[in-house]
Subunit: 312 residues, 2 copies
């Protein structure tokens, strides 16, 4: 993909981290930040983050990348000539709506526009925009220069082509874009986090576990596999015949815990079909060896980190 | 702690992995496995797992460790002289109950007895035992030689001293023991996994996301921090004043997603107090830097792993 100019509107913590993401991939980044103190802080932060990455071999030339990040005097100046505009303003509808109107009016007709919001729905953010068909949510995880996931959530009226262009851009700069197919509160990531947090708080509230025991259950247990494969791949590799087999074996146990219905045969078949499109059944055994190799190396990595923590 | 003899009753997949855990820590491991084919497989598997660990620098002398694992001809022979007996039989109450009776009758009076069960409750497993006060569940995550978490769940009648001795043993061999303070279906780990899986299946069922998008949300998003710190520490570091501050800021958002009540002030204060006992508030900022350093190194580790996967 050709080098493209990316405009960032809002240069706080998330904006700085986005600047690093796009600049390290070779793009020119034009940032508009209204608050004077934030403007000064931004360039220092971008430079420091890039140097940290360079020190670990994750960026080749931090100074050159930092040069590609340009602060502008106005929003208009930032977005002109941009191929993509990423909005990182305060998380309030009444602030974001007029900000997006301003962006929509000033950005080139062919530019895509995305909001970094974690909680506001794309339909509420863009209903009023003339160019609402080129708008979507692109929700990063903080900080995006370290955590690659980006949730793309279109409004009902967003052009499929705009979604595809933002998806391709995010993949090209090394992020991991996923698609939220219909808008929903919390998108995907915060719903998964919320479901786990609610159970975690319940266990503490009712005295089954203390906070540190719940944390260890994840950090020394569940979280190891989850750091390189998701919950579906995890269960897919934990029953001889894969995901649906796991669901049939253990669905009753999980349903019993929460007093809900077990996963239906239809649902298990749907999930199994999607999983098999990623990994054919005959590759399950080889993938289990891959998982064990990754686990072994992750354990080694964690031991080295713990050792280095202790030496500090 | 002095070297101790550990008896394993059941030498299948979990039993082999337990043998590696105890043998690499210097203990003699006496294994009784009733099925002849399993007996042959066990010693090969133990040797192979230890060699894999040695190759990564995680065990010093694989051959010496393998020598410490001894197959016995009878259950009685395995448990005599043992300081701890770990039962790894089939996951059926009607199989485990008589097996545990046999262990209880044959094991030295001072030995602790634990079951590896993932789903049966300690009260149901041990109500009938003469020595039920020395019995508890010690539920590993598969495979325990790579995943350190062990859930200790006592029955209402288990001696606190027995729990403490098993906790100390697990910590001494390098596992990460947590305490389930009252018995509950699924203990802690599977309840957390179940809560996340239920939401994951719901999102797929209702068409909000595909299986691979949910998996990426965890493997490229949530799972990174969760592989070295738990969900409570994660939120503790995601608001200026810590956990309760996070709960007050975002509790309404999470509650709204699921149509439940937000976490109460009392619950947030309880969790905050437990968290502050682990990390004082004035250390939050330094811990955030630690998190970012760990994230950076984890990202570097994952990139190296992905590269090595591609080269295969």
């Amino acid at each position: 993909m050709a080098e493209r100019t990316i405009a960032l509107v809002g240069g706080g913590l998330i904006g700085s981290s986005w600047a690093v993401v796009f600049a390290r991939a070779g793009h020119t980044v034009r940032v508009y930040e209204a608050v004077p103190e934030q403007r000064t802080a931004l360039q220092d932060r971008v430079r420091r983050l890039l140097l940290d990455l360079e020190a670990e071999g994750l960026v080749e030339n931090a100074a050159a990348a930092a040069e590609r990040v340009v602060l502008t005097e106005s929003l208009k100046d930032a977005v002109q000539g941009a191929g993509h505009v990423q909005e990182n303003g305060p998380e309030r509808l009444e602030v974001k709506q007029p900000l997006l109107s301003e962006i929509d009016a000033a950005a080139p007709a062919e530019a895509t526009i995305a909001s970094s919001t974690s909680a506001l729905l794309p339909s509420a953010l863009s209903d009023h925009l003339t160019g609402r068909r080129r708008f979507l949510v692109a929700h990063p995880v903080n900080p995006p220069h370290l955590i690659p996931l980006v949730e793309l959530c279109p409004a009902p009226w967003t052009d499929a082509a705009a979604v595809e262009r933002v998806r391709a851009l995010m993949a090209e700069v090394g992020q991991s874009p996923i698609l939220v197919r219909r808008e929903i509160d919390g998108f995907i990531l915060n719903r998964l986090q919320g479901a786990l947090l609610h159970e975690a708080f319940r266990l503490v509230e009712q005295g089954y576990a203390r906070v540190e025991d719940v944390d260890a259950a994840v950090a020394d247990g569940l979280g190891l596999r989850w750091s390189f494969m998701g919950p579906f791949e995890t269960i897919d590799l934990n029953a001889p015949q894969g995901l649906a087999d796991y669901g049939r074996r253990y669905g009753g146990m999980y349903a019993g815990m929460f007093g809900v219905e077990p996963w239906s045969g239809e649902l298990l078949a749907k999930a199994e079909e999607q999983r098999r499109a990623m990994l054919p059944r005959e590759a399950l055994v080889e993938r289990q060896s891959w998982r064990d190799r990754r686990l072994l190396r992750l354990v080694q990595h964690k031991k080295a980190m713990d050792k280095s923590d202790k030496e500090k």
